[in-house]
């Protein structure tokens, strides 16, 4: 039963990722990418990472993709006006991506998996992650606040008129 859920979710994520790459209209690309992110959030749920699933939905599909849609709307890019690359570049791009895929699959095929641990209940819960985040990773957590401050200052500086 759960294996079928995994297969269906994987089909949705791969299919909508492909549609994201191949659709001409940028708005359609954003919508397909949102579908991919939702299916990845569902993958997180079946992997017991419930906190990350919620964060994925709120941050990625809620904040980042809305930002993308807003920029596309602002720049008026929703026409299908993109000039496509030449055929030889397309073939080269498909070949390189396919070769990368082949090399990675071949290298992972020969690898030996470490022994799987037993199911830890509540591994990805807010309580457990909060304990790890605020004890072991307190300094990186504080550093991200500096990162956000600089990102905020940078975007204000970029958006300001000269």
């Amino acid at each position: 039963m759960l294996a079928y859920v995994f297969y269906i979710l994987s089909a949705i994520s791969i299919g909508s990722a492909l549609m994201m790459v191949f659709s001409k209209n940028p708005v359609h690309s954003v919508l397909y990418l949102i579908a991919t992110f939702f299916s990845i959030a569902a993958h997180f749920i079946i992997l017991n990472a419930d906190f990350l699933a919620i964060v994925q939905i709120i941050v990625y599909t809620g904040a980042i993709m809305v930002l993308f849609l807003y920029v596309i709307m602002l720049l008026n890019l929703n026409s299908e006006s993109e000039v496509s690359k030449s055929t030889i570049v397309k073939v080269a791009a498909a070949l390189s991506a396919g070769l990368l895929f082949l090399v990675m699959v071949a290298s992972f095929k020969e690898s030996v998996a470490l022994p799987v641990s037993e199911v830890v209940p509540g591994l990805g819960s807010v309580k457990n992650l909060g304990k790890v985040l605020f004890s072991e990773y307190l300094l990186p957590f504080e550093a991200t606040s500096v990162l956000f401050l600089s990102a905020m200052a940078g975007s204000v500086l970029l958006a300001k008129k000269k």
Binding site: L33, I40, V71, V119, F148, G154
Partner: protein, 109 residues
Amino acid sequence: MNEITSTIQVVPLEYYIFLSVTLFSIGVLGMLLRRNAIIAFMSIELMLNAVNLLMVAFSAFRGDAKGQVFVFFIMVVAAAEVAIGLAILTMIHHNRGSVDINALNKLKW
């Protein structure tokens, strides 16, 4: 809930590795194939998500919460990166009138 927690006994780790590799390669494909800079950005987001998925899978299969903390940090960095990147793209569109990657060749040697 008991049925949900038994994923790692039903689906082997290799399947998650292959799924992440596929998503990552699709991201690389979009990066190389499209000329619209926003689509290229979205392909980068897809690659980041493929890595996130793999990290959560490893974390679940090893019973270690540190991988999920790192995914949290990756999401934070991705959010900051998108905010700055889209601001830069808007500036480029104001200055040059398009977001075509081939038009951005001022730094080309």
